[in-house]
Symmetry: C2
Subunit: 349 residues, 2 copies
């Protein structure tokens, strides 16, 4: 089958690989109906060292079950499924606590130890299928818009939701969202759903921030750094934002969050940090009693809650997809997202 | 009057200074009945550069009101009061939110801008007295044990309580407390009051950890670093502690907290950080969705809640004081605490 591999920074290729197969009795084999490229895929696209064997890419997909192992009990051939970006057993301490990203038996896609490949492919072997996959009551003839919205439950919508939930967004909160990528925009949507009163979106791309306004942003700040911080403070009575949702992952976004947050407030990060150390001392987090939270979203635990409104069309998170390409065109999807010509590209095998 | 000043690392002196006086109509003048030396006073005791003018010391005291300014409405001459370690107006956005340490008009003791001096003295001028001071229904003839317990409401008990509250301690929590100083021990007491099921106290001084056991610690880990982390993990089913209360402030304690906390858990810091940057990336906080919280405790907001059990003797936080010295002996109080000959020294002017 065809699958997408990255061989180094800027080097993405669609290659022929052996078809996946059931290897464990808890596996399922899923034919991919839609996959996509993630903002986080752009981090290795910028920095991956040359890797002769390549690395399979993609961690978001929806599809149809084609085969199941003998121990799979909740899924059958023909089921339409949403796959979270983390594989999880569903039964360990962390899965039961709703933190499937820390599953004691699971892991991520493209994980050598777990033997997972990538989702930007024609099919995917899914380990721990009962714990990982969520059935959706549709089939692949559903319209493109609905498929796109379902695909966001695989990562970006659940990730934006996680940011808002971990940030403690509630009725009347003042929320600042850093980043106008798909996750940032869906953090805006999530904050609105959770009742935020004021939602300030920090982003520089008007097409995106316009969508952010439609998702619920009350204000847009295009400036960055000290100027951006100043504008957020002006918009919040000089005190800063109760909650800052950081959906970028670069260190300047962390510093911007520190500047924008109110004393006693919360910085909730879902952008994968591209840094290890950062200020946490008296002058940054400690003195003003600012809480730092967030991490990889356990989207598996949010899908049941978010699915009904997606199915009935009352929220349309799939609007973050502005392009659809074929699997052969995946390299172009990376370059279009990297050049910010596309916000998020769906891949149709 | 006599007051304690620090002139550099290890150089504490009791000197004669002008008597304080009412300067603003919102001031009160308080005669100190008990003050004390704080673990955080030992940080400058180790590192303060030589300072010819010296710096007034002390931020914890209880005493009797001797005079009030014209605008003070809730206090009168003769009232017995507890003073939090932060001055606060009681009316701004942050005071109303219970975060008096971020008061828009307040500050700390020994603050040049606010014009405050230190509490290790015979008397103290208290700005914003209505917002800052809390009356207690006793007088200075109360017994030493009760005075000691009331004095902990000025800082260390409220700080331990803040750690536990911010950490989200609730019925059945597994809590690890790093540090067997007065704050760590009162974090143990607070965690017990809030219903923690397992409380692991990390500390090396048996006299202190024995008191920690009396306050509610179920386990004591004397080892530090990787060995200490390993022991905490062994005591928590290999998964780590839901909540870690960090009551030291040095970077190794931060690293120990990272090692001891469970995925999805909380590190709540109340030890004043003696570092600026620390790991916050994928391998430390982000990957396992660990929350970092805490800061200077708004003890003012906790006194009303904690006072009744102190007054009726059902909790005795004052047990953290193992010595009482006269004001003249304050330099000896510093050296005794620094040498760990004393846990916490009360100062009686």
């Amino acid at each position: 089958m065809k699958a997408t591999y990255m061989y180094g920074a800027g080097d993405v290729r669609v290659v022929d690989v052996p078809d996946p197969s059931i290897q464990q009795p808890t596996d399922a084999l899923v034919r991919v109906v839609r996959a996509c490229v993630c903002g986080s895929d752009l981090h290795p696209y910028h920095s991956m060292p040359a890797t002769p064997g390549g690395s399979p890419m993609g961690h978001e997909f929806i599809g149809v079950v084609e085969a199941v192992g003998a121990d799979v009990t909740t899924l059958g051939v023909g089921d339409f499924v949403i796959s979270p970006f983390a594989v999880s057993c569903g039964t360990c301490e962390f899965c039961r606590a709703g933190l499937q990203t820390s599953c004691l038996h699971g892991g991520f896609w493209s994980d050598a130890e777990l033997g997972t490949a990538g989702a930007q492919a024609e099919a995917v072997r899914v380990p721990l299928a009962d714990g990982t996959l969520v059935k959706a009551p549709i089939d692949e003839t559903a319209d493109d818009a609905l498929l796109a919205s379902l695909l966001t439950l695989s990562d970006v919508y659940g990730t934006g939701w996680h940011a808002a939930v971990r940030g403690g967004v509630t009725t009347g909160s003042t929320v600042t969202v850093i980043g106008d990528g798909a996750v940032g925009l869906l953090a805006v949507l999530s904050a609105r759903q959770l009742g935020a009163g004021q939602i300030i979106l920090m982003g520089r791309h008007q097409v995106r921030t316009d969508l952010g306004r439609e998702f619920g942003a009350t204000d847009v700040v295009a400036a960055r750094g000290d100027e951006g911080i100043e504008q957020v403070r002006d918009l919040t009575g000089g005190l800063g934002s109760h909650i800052v949702l950081e959906a970028v992952g670069h260190r300047p976004a962390y510093d911007q969050a520190l500047g924008a947050v109110r004393a006693g407030g919360v910085i909730s990060r879902v952008g994968v940090p591209q840094y290890d150390e950062a200020p946490v001392g008296f002058g940054s987090l400690f003195g003003p009693n600012v809480t730092l939270t967030g991490g990889p979203a356990p989207v598996r635990s949010y899908i049941d809650q978010l699915l009904p409104a997606v199915l009935d069309g009352s929220v349309v998170p799939g609007r973050v997809f502005d392009r659809t390409m074929t699997l052969d065109e995946t390299p172009k999807a990376y370059s279009a997202m990297d050049a910010r010509e596309a916000l998020k590209v769906a891949v149709r095998p």
